[in-house]
Symmetry: C2
Subunit: 352 residues, 2 copies
Amino acid sequence: MNLRELSARRAAWMGGEGPHGDVVVSSRVRLARDLRGVPFPNRADDVARTRAFRRVTEACAGVPGLEDADTWNLDALRSADRDLFVERHLASRDLAAGAGARGLVVGKDETHSVMINEEDHVRIQSVTSGLNPAYSLERAVEMDRALEGRLEYAVDDRLGYLTACPSNVGTGLRASVLIHLPALVLAGEVRKVHRAVAGMGLAVRGWFGEGSAALGDFYQLSNQRTLGSPEEDVVSRLTKIAQRVLELEMNARERLRDAPARRLRVEDRVFRSWGTLLHARLLSVEQLMSCASDLRLGRWLGVLDVPADRLTRLAIFGQRGHLGARCGKSLDGDEEARERAEWVRSELSAST
Amino acid sequence: MNLRELSARRAAWMGGEGPHGDVVVSSRVRLARDLRGVPFPNRADDVARTRAFRRVTEACAGVPGLEDADTWNLDALRSADRDLFVERHLASRDLAAGAGARGLVVGKDETHSVMINEEDHVRIQSVTSGLNPAYSLERAVEMDRALEGRLEYAVDDRLGYLTACPSNVGTGLRASVLIHLPALVLAGEVRKVHRAVAGMGLAVRGWFGEGSAALGDFYQLSNQRTLGSPEEDVVSRLTKIAQRVLELEMNARERLRDAPARRLRVEDRVFRSWGTLLHARLLSVEQLMSCASDLRLGRWLGVLDVPADRLTRLAIFGQRGHLGARCGKSLDGDEEARERAEWVRSELSAST
């Protein structure tokens, strides 16, 4: 598999078939693990990092979900190409921006993957479509068990798994849900939801997770604590809170659908976004995401009939790294915006 | 002819076939005249106004250009319907907003018309497509001569024609050119042009003339003085200055066409406006005019192929009074914006 092929591949989670797929894009789980007796990546020298990279990639062979996986050494790639992995939610921005031997092992449909030498030696990851973090947890735990048989993890009897950052010590678990809240944003209620969710010990982040801004009304809800609660409890708590946020969003959507004047304004917005995507000659990623968000809401309202997976494709495949991989070069400024507008037009004219 | 038919009629000046029709929409001339021995309209009582209205309409019969003309008594129309005449540039806003017997005699293709009981008893008007105020002056003078044989004008041997407002005394002439300056606006140079033109004794006004704002980068240039210069000189001076402004606009367009990055941005803007017109569900008149302006520029750049007369139709027939006349009711708020968006969509899908 080369970068160009990767940039065109539909990951399983992009299909929109999961539970509440019209509101919840995806559910993901990651488990942070480190190797016993090896310095944490930020303390390791090149030799130690390279050795850790090799040990982990070798251990991945035959792990459930990683049969026929692809191994990517990000150190060998250009910065623009590393973006591709961030955009697909396979790599964190830190991993892409880091130095030395580091990378990814990625299963065929991207449900299973392992990040190597990010903050920790090992970050087991699983992602699925819709609201189903329990499924992702099961997949991650299967991978974790298989890897634990092949690697020696750093564990403390009292604390649990040891990690580079104390905030991950214990279970090393972060579970998150990427949720689309356009009606709450339109109703001016999204801040209220933020505060309520934060009060329940969850973090609310943007499209790219930690430190990223909300793009196109997509938000990521995730647990904060990794110490003192079993994995299943953390995941079931996240699921419940996400369900509550989902209900609030559905209520807001129904209010909007049933108020003719507001509905008309939203329909206008949806169709204008549709017009922008079909006609613009320059398109920023922010505007693409914002328009894709309007189209998702329009689809839910029954105003526009664009397949859900095509909307997720728009939001992922229209990002800079994906565009660059398809063109075979890195893009900047107007060139990027022009390439994006052109690709979006061809993508939408194929869908309608 | 009823209002509905009028609202659908293409006036001769809307065709865009006149000289420099891609930049200059129209050239118009009006001559202000008053009846001797009758109080000016603002001083006249109902009886005197009604008598003046009757005398002038009767005198119009058989005047060149007014054969088979329609006579409209605006006092008998609803406010929303009077807007129709303002939007077609037949009536001033003052005439529409006034009281008592007042109105219009309008020739078949709207090249020739007479406003009655606006500020003055008689305002002879002629309008033509493109940059050709001399043609409009000739038509107006023909009408004036014919009327002068049938009505007794208030004239002073030294001053010339007497009018209600001293600013019109003398020739009673106002000549104006409606010009489209999108490239000068984009280049941030339109203010400079304003100042230069004002320094040459011309006024720069908006789409609807005196006291109106610029809509969609359309500006009206007109003479200020009516005393001391023969009509032909005033008109030839206006023509020369309009030609100079036209040159500045053409230079700005050529600079824009030949600078790839700027051109790309303008193309993006043109296509986005196109997308908005094709897809919006709510459309204000300001946005319609702004998009129509972009499309006119796009047509000049060879980016979009929309017939010029269709663009002028959009800008005129999409206004509130025209929409209301077609629906047979007055519109407000969302209803107006929705009706406009719907009409624009049907209009453009018919044209492409």
